[in-house]
């Protein structure tokens, strides 16, 4: 059951890829086998600090195989890589368009990470 996850703001058809991974409102979880998706509110959103760590834990626990995000903090990337999750650069806009681009092999791997926002 390979799952592709994106950080999003908004919900349902109004969802847009969030500028931030740790401070995204929710995670869009797409199942490549069923072609369906679920949405989970980001449990790290209310944390004054370590939001990226909390969000990464949630993505790992959801069983993601792939994460598409605009950027990632160092800490979140470390967790996601340790869990063997493949990381790709998302494009601004709708999650569905990003998933289509990913499945078509158009997205580039996310290798660079910023030093983290240390949102404390």
């Amino acid at each position: 059951m390979p799952l592709v996850v994106l950080p999003v703001d908004g919900s349902g058809p109004a969802s847009k890829v969030s500028d931030s991974f740790g401070r995204a409102e929710a995670f869009w979880i797409y199942d490549t086998e069923s072609d369906g998706h679920t949405e989970q509110p980001n449990r790290g959103l209310a944390s004054p600090g370590g939001a990226g760590i909390k969000a990464a834990q949630q993505v790992v626990d959801a069983g993601a195989a792939v994460l598409l995000a605009p950027q990632l903090g160092e800490n979140a990337a470390k967790i996601l890589r340790s869990a063997g999750i493949a990381l790709f650069h998302s494009r601004p806009g709708e999650p569905a368009a990003n998933i289509a681009a990913h499945l078509a092999g158009e997205l580039v791997p996310l290798n660079q990470t910023h030093p983290g926002q240390h949102g404390a």
Partner: protein, 295 residues
Amino acid sequence: MKQLLVLSGKGGTGKTTVAASLIELFDVQAFADCDVDAPNLHLVVGVDGPHQLRPHHGLPKSQIDPDLCRSCDHCLPECRFEAISVVADVYTIDPFACEGCGLCQELCPADAISSVPTQTGTLALATDGKRVFSTAVLAMGQGNSGQLVWSVKKRLAEAVAEHPPSLAIIDGSPGIGCPVMSSLSGTDLLLVVAEPSVAGLSDLKRLLDVAIGMEVPVAACVNKADVNPEKTEAVQALCDSWDIPLIGRIPFDPAVPAAINAGRTLAKDPGPAGVVIREVGAAIARLLELSPAAR
């Protein structure tokens, strides 16, 4: 909507003066003040209109219910923050010392300790029907946080979501800590206002390290450049070594404090500082590829 962020590293370099002038120069309809430790932007480019206030909460702190507490002393010795005290067998928690770790709640066998929300600041959003301004004020003795800065930017984005203007300007906080890093995310261009002094250079280097690490495009200007021409050249050399364009050398000009004191920006000021600030504006318009209508 393009986002221009104005930062300085060191405090007092003229960051807010430059940000306010650019807001007026471009007739910017969406702007925010993330310098919540010392918010000043509203003093020169305020928006008249109702302020929508919203409390901002940090980690909840612990509180002991005296009716449930059995004075068992399980909590007190484990609190690293020395927040728990006991007088005549009555246990209390000092909310200023409590960090909200929640250990005392885990240890209490009587379920006498609960979390209470802690307000660390107040978010404010003002609109006059045309322009939108987002900011926040910290509660006394509270620290700024990445979360608070994120909320200030988020409220601005939400308020203009239906009709986003071409440009938003964000006045950031000094230093290089978490609030600064939070303000950098989603930024299309960072304008650094540098000061030609030993202290200014030392802080500028630290800020550029962070911004370049986050892959944010950067431009710089020097304020009061003629006060120390030698240090201004050092700023130029530092910018050159990072491939950062130095887009203005703003001279010392008594018209600047005079304008600020009168509640005006330098956008239309005929003096030497005003002239350079308009050049800085023109360079920013080019770097952000703003359409002429937005200028």
